[in-house]
């Protein structure tokens, strides 16, 4: 039996409480919505039915295809946030890292660097005046 059972724990349902929720980074900036969760066996190997399994990562991006249309994009294309980065679970899921440290935010950075930051005023703080 697992350690969690003996420690304080909170029971939730994945779809009800995690999937499709907003992920915020350490300073509260939005990162993504949770598209799916990866689960692995006790030592990180493939899940064996009936044996201990745990959530390994929050998935975003192409992994949504499974829930939208069925089918399975190859794991190499999943955009992952390790579960160890997850700090809090509430109506949002809060991370302990900055979003710039995550691989999966590349499209935001790309649009920012290639488009938005190049338009005059793109760095202007609208609340400052």
């Amino acid at each position: 039996m697992s350690d969690i059972e003996r420690a304080a724990r909170r029971v939730i349902d994945a779809r009800l409480h995690l999937l499709d929720r907003q992920v915020l980074d350490v300073v509260g900036e939005p990162v993504t919505a949770i598209d799916d969760l990866e689960i692995v066996g006790a030592d990180g190997e493939e899940v064996v039915p009936g044996r201990t399994a745990r959530v390994a990562a929050v998935l975003a991006g192409p992994a949504i295809v499974t829930r939208l249309l069925g089918g399975h994009p190859p794991p190499s294309r999943w955009e992952r946030i390790e579960w160890s980065h997850v700090e809090r679970v509430g109506t949002t899921v809060d991370l302990s890292v900055d979003r710039d440290a995550l691989d999966l935010d590349w499209s935001e950075r790309w649009v920012r660097d290639r488009v938005i930051a190049r338009i005059p005023g793109g760095l202007h703080d609208p609340e400052s005046d």
Binding site: D20, Q22, I119, G122, D125, P126
Partner: protein, 411 residues
């Protein structure tokens, strides 16, 4: 004193922000064809939008989650995705109609080619989105939109037979001679859609997050909604009444913005006309801002991107890019010289069709103590909410069949 000013400002903004090109056109068309016999729909629509906006504002303020995040959480990615596609398309139609409306109003004031104004209007909208502080944007557009009160003034100056107007308003379900029952109900749905456009809710709830509402704001905004929207509804009725008094007796059917202002000119001359045209420019400009923002809000919230005008554009890059793309598409559509009035009529009908997909999740989450704590909906809100659930569903189901059967109200 400062508090009082804040409340007044909020209410005034809500009045001015309620009327957009959809309300203007639909009310004038309805007034010229059906007199005031559809006023009851405006009443139903205003109560509905009050209820709906109050719920979504409360959910956003208490949970910090804006409407489209909630829609995805509750409906799942598939149904929420379908809602996103529909809402985005309708939003785009409405944005197109609003930008076209600004151009038409400026054309009215200047006779300069509307195509030129389309580009100017879209550029101005973008500049405000890019640069101006949220609260300033909201207040200026709302206050100038208040000039539409000119329609109310015009109605009094026209000195209509009030008894006759009241009798018209009381003839629910009885279109005046020569108008078919099918068209009557088609326009009933259109008016309902114009009052309860989903973008108002996306904008309202996201605005609550943008402005980081506190418990204090919550009660103040309830007050704003509950007084501002009904007063905005009165503006809508005034527009319809002006058309009913001046245009209906001459069997003028409204098909353009220039006809909507004729009663105002007749009643108040060039001065009042100028005031109202300025009001139309402001109201459509404000609504163009709201719809452009809503297109960004919906996509960003569904996908979990960072969004919001309170962030620097570079901190919400994809959100800003979405709005730019939406504006460019709107300009593109208008450049095909499609009639903005026709686009408007389409957008209000489809608003009614898509409404349930946005309404149901909000109704549900407003009752969830995990999100709302002590602020869950009360008994009255739920009873009314359930009544409106039925109305919203009926309107959504009836819209398309009515549109086909009546040739979009032309029969």
């Amino acid at each position: 004193m400062k508090r009082l000013l804040g409340v007044a400002l909020g209410i005034l903004t809500a009045i001015g922000g309620f009327v957009d090109i959809g309300d203007l056109v639909t009310n004038a068309v309805v007034g010229s064809r059906f007199g005031l016999s559809l006023v009851w729909v405006v009443v139903v629509g205003v109560v509905g939008i009050c209820l709906f906006a109050e719920m979504s504002g409360r959910v956003a303020a208490v949970s910090g989650r804006a409407t489209f995040e909630i829609i995805r959480e509750r409906l799942g990615p598939r149904m929420a995705g379908a809602n996103l596609v529909a809402s985005f398309a309708i939003n785009l139609l409405t944005l197109t109609a609003e930008v076209g409306g600004i151009a038409l109003a400026l054309h009215l004031a200047s006779s300069v080619e509307p195509r030129l104004w389309i580009v100017v209007a879209a550029a101005a909208v973008w500049l405000v989105l890019w640069r101006v502080k949220f609260s300033i944007m909201e207040n200026v557009a709302g206050l100038l939109g208040l000039l539409l009160v000119g329609f109310g003034v015009a109605l009094f100056l026209l000195g209509p037979d009030w008894g006759d107007l009241l009798a018209q308003a009381a003839s629910i379900g009885q279109p005046p001679g020569g108008q078919s029952m099918g068209s009557y109900w088609f326009y009933a749905v259109a008016l309902f859609g114009a009052a309860m456009t989903p973008y108002e809710v996306f904008f309202f709830s996201s605005g609550a997050v943008e402005e980081k509402w506190t418990a204090k704001d919550l009660s103040q905004n309830r007050l704003n909604v509950l007084t501002g929207f009904p007063l905005g509804g009165l503006l809508s009725v005034a527009i319809a009444a002006c058309a009913a008094v001046v245009l209906m007796p001459q069997s003028i059917e409204v098909s353009s913005l220039s006809q909507i202002v004729l009663p105002v000119a007749q009643a108040g001359g060039t001065l009042l006309l100028a005031v109202v045209i300025l009001g139309i420019v402001a109201a459509t400009f404000g609504a163009a801002l709201e719809t452009a923002l809503s297109s960004g809000y919906t996509v960003a919230q569904y996908l979990g991107w960072s969004w919001g005008k309170f962030r620097r554009p570079a901190k919400a890059a994809r959100f800003h890019l979405t709005m730019i793309v939406a504006l460019l598409i709107a300009v593109g559509i208008l450049m095909t010289s499609v009639d903005p009035i026709a686009v408007t009529e389409m957008s209000v009908v489809f608003s009614a069709v898509a409404l349930p997909l946005t309404y149901v999740p909000i109704l549900v989450v407003a009752n969830d103590p995990e999100y709302m704590g002590e602020h869950v909906s009360g008994k009255v809100a739920n009873a009314l909410g359930s009544v409106y659930l039925v109305i919203v569903l009926v309107a959504a189901l009836a819209a398309i069949p009515l549109m086909i059967a009546t040739g979009a109200g032309s029969a």
